[in-house]
Symmetry: C2
Subunit: 144 residues, 2 copies
DNA sequence: ACCTAATAGTTGCTTTTGTAACTAACAAGC
DNA sequence: GCTTGTTAGTTACAAAAGCAACTATTAGGT
């Protein structure tokens, strides 16, 4: 008869990924949360606009793999904080171009500094090659 | 004057970790959700008890890094499904030992099979050495 | 014995997320 | 022009997570 393989939870890839993502994510979240009262999705929207320039909510959904309601609410929250403005496109008034305000850019630039410092701190734990491989593998795992 | 470093969101470790964890986690979640209507925390509690034997809710909190309210509700849900039983310890009636029922064990064994298949599918994308390094790094990153 | 502190776990309330239905704007066929 | 279908984004309601206050029980000091 077939003997069952023992299962070790601490060796299960999705579990390890979740633990690592949760630990680093929540640690970094405390920075932008305390500074700007931002939620994780708000941070992502801010960084998408800051890194890649103006785009629509739909674009952010696709790039970040977020649901449109989540983005919609994050955009509203950021607009309330006066970090971005919405401009209906004349050629198709269903779309709206999202643009960071000056204050939004300032917040972005400030948080870029924090992000780089945070990432450097994580990177310091590993060699350059190890880190490159980790990132390559994470990108791979993010795909279905 | 100092020029700002460009920042690439797709190269930010916590972001990559989150994307990878989210993708694999939600794909795996659909298995135990459809089979047993379990939430992620319930799955974790079930697997902690299945893998490591009886323990208290507190033990699970510490091992899994979960808040006690989350565990408390997951335990209640699993008890409702008759997957576990609670037994007050006579020597200290504040603690309760959590034990899987026969049905709980069956569900666990069933899901262990799914977990192993799922993990094998993920592992197939990489070499043995790569995977070992990934896991080592994830464990590292899970620590503060 | 009695008072205070600590601990395991639960409950209530608020915030956040998820899902589905909705609105408004456009497009294509007839 | 008028249906029918599609798309961007919002809203409403339900599920889940987070946080703080609570109960019950034990431990320790006096």
């Amino acid at each position: 008869m077939s003997e069952k393989q023992p299962f070790e939870l601490r060796d299960f890839t999705p579990y390890l990924l979740n633990q690592a993502a949760e630990a680093t994510g929540s640690r970094f979240q405390s920075i932008y949360k305390s500074k700007y009262g931002m939620l994780r999705t708000e941070w992502r929207v801010l960084f998408h606009l800051g890194c890649y320039g103006d785009m629509t909510a739909k674009d952010i959904c696709e790039r970040a793999g977020l649901h449109k309601t989540k983005v919609s609410r994050a955009v509203s929250a950021l607009a309330l904080k006066r970090f971005l403005e919405r401009h209906e496109l004349p050629q198709d008034r269903r779309h709206e171009r999202l643009t960071l305000t000056t204050a939004g850019h300032r917040a972005f630039e400030d948080l870029v500094g924090d992000a780089q410092a945070f990432d450097a701190q994580l990177a310091a734990r590993f060699s350059h090659d190890e880190l490159a491989l980790l990132k390559k593998m994470l990108v791979q795992l993010a795909h279905p």
